[in-house]
């Protein structure tokens, strides 16, 4: 697994969305739960996957025809590396909310 050169707030939001679920998460669900536009989420997921933080698999839904959904989940190393970033982000958000 490669370290990320730059961890943006949008990346942390995507990591948080992935961390919240113990199951693989549909890309569209990440867009919705992170509150980030698809134009940000798709490149972030791609970068995380290339860096070994995330793996993805096709859905297994025989009842649904047509194109398959892609599901993402953090790797073991990715989950470990994401934890401090997500925690720091939560602390910062909480501090901002307290001062507001």
């Amino acid at each position: 697994m490669e370290p990320l050169i730059r961890v943006t707030p949008a990346t942390v939001d995507v990591l948080a969305a992935l961390q919240e679920s113990s199951d693989p998460v549909w890309g569209l669900a990440i867009i919705k739960s992170s509150g980030r536009p698809a134009g940000s989420v798709y490149p972030i997921l791609d970068r995380l996957e290339r860096s070994g933080w995330v793996t993805s698999v096709w859905e297994d839904e025989p009842d649904r025809s047509g194109p398959r959904r892609r599901y993402y989940e953090l790797t073991e190393g990715g989950a470990r590396a994401a934890r401090p970033h997500v925690s720091a982000r939560r602390v910062a958000v909480a501090a901002r909310a307290a001062t507001a």
Binding site: S21, D23, P24, V25, W26, G27, L28, A29, I31, K32, P37, A38, G39, S40, V41, Y42, P43, D46, R50, V57, W58, E59, D60, E61, R64, G66, P67, R68, R69, R70, Y71
Partner: protein, 359 residues
């Protein structure tokens, strides 16, 4: 929206195209269910396609070799074509607007001749993983390409440096092609496109510097084309024929040179983007060059005979070299069967997961 997705996925590098096309189409279909706008998916796909990293695609050894050799040879063929113009335009007396075009083109040639070696050496030196053959070849070509500058710096006269430089061209090109094409490396490299551009710049410099000077030198040895008049009447007649000949030739050469510049730019851009169509582009470019080469060969044979029994030797030889290079390009490209990796979506055999949203 579906059309936008298809366009966006078509813009992606081949190895990931199928995977993202299927993923985005599924997202587009299910966007209303997830409460996400379909326009956002389409826009996201376009944004991703525009910014997706394009590393040198992971290909089998044969494909990698074919791609590199084909790409390099296509550029070499294009640049060989390009060198024909400066070689034969020297001494030409051209009416407007062709004179202006000649001036502009000669300026471009000089700029390439000076900047090409510098750019190529800097680029290749900056890439740590450049194999020694490529480094040696690039530096050798840089020295050879500098040959035309020597008489300019030292004054007029015979340029003895030109002869070893001429020998260095094929050796250096062979080294570069060997490094680009025969290096057994399946690992994608984000530096490799830059190395190819550097080598291409060197080939350009070498071609422009060496072949044009060699052609000029050969022309100077032909008695009919010498500036030493045998007699004033004969000289006047020769000058009239020469101007008439060069006016006719230069119109075609300017047109072909402009076309070649466009082709070089197209092949370079498409090749750097790392798409499989670069091979197609190279084929088209080489075929167009072959057409121009054939046309010029005929023209040289017919028009370059102001007196009976005289044939423009450098012109014929230069055109034959260009045609041989084009044939090599076509043989290389067409002779290797493509075995591009299938898209990840097509080869995915990993266990599938259950949907977390579909319940």
């Amino acid at each position: 929206m579906r059309r936008v997705i298809l366009i966006a996925s078509a813009l992606l590098p081949h190895p990931i195209r199928g995977r993202y096309r299927e993923q985005w189409l599924a997202d587009l279909r299910d966007a209303p269910e997830a409460g996400v706008g379909r326009g956002q998916i389409a826009w996201g796909a376009l944004a991703f396609a525009a910014t997706a990293p394009r590393p040198w695609p992971a290909m089998s050894f044969d494909n990698l070799r074919a791609r590199r050799v084909g790409f390099a040879l296509a550029l070499a063929a294009a640049l060989l074509g390009l060198t024909t113009y400066p070689g034969y335009s020297v001494g030409g007396i051209l009416p407007a607007p062709w004179g202006l075009l000649q001036f502009a083109f000669d300026t471009l040639v000089v700029a390439l001749q000076v900047l090409g070696p510098i750019v190529a050496v800097v680029v290749v030196s900056a890439v740590r993983e450049t194999p020694w053959r490529e480094r040696a070849g690039v530096r050798m070509l840089a020295l050879a390409a500098a040959a035309p500058l020597v008489p300019a710096l030292l004054g007029r006269g015979d340029n003895l440096y030109l002869y070893p430089a001429a020998l260095a061209y094929p050796a250096a090109v062979a080294l570069i092609l060997a490094a680009l094409g025969l290096r057994h490396s399946g690992a994608p490299s984000r530096y490799r496109p830059r190395a190819v551009v550097g080598a291409a710049a060197l080939v350009a410099s070498a071609g422009l510097g060496g072949v044009s000077l060699a052609a000029i030198g050969w022309i100077g040895r032909v008695p009919l084309v010498t500036s030493e008049p045998v007699g004033s009447a004969l000289y006047e007649e020769w000058l009239r024929l020469k101007v008439e000949f060069e006016q006719r030739v230069d119109v075609l050469l300017v047109a072909s040179a402009i076309t070649v510049v466009v082709l070089v730019a197209a092949v370079t851009v498409i090749g750097i983007l790392g798409r499989p169509v670069s091979l197609t582009a190279a084929t088209i470019g080489a075929a167009l060059l072959a057409v121009f080469g054939s046309a010029q060969l005929v023209q040289f044979l017919v028009l370059a005979t102001p007196t009976a029994g005289w044939v423009d030797g450098p012109g014929v030889m230069g055109t034959l070299v260009r045609l041989a290079t084009v044939v090599a390009v076509l043989a290389t490209i067409d002779g290797v069967r493509q075995r591009l990796p299938r898209s990840p979506g097509a080869v995915d055999r990993r266990p599938r997961t259950r949907s977390v949203l579909s319940g």
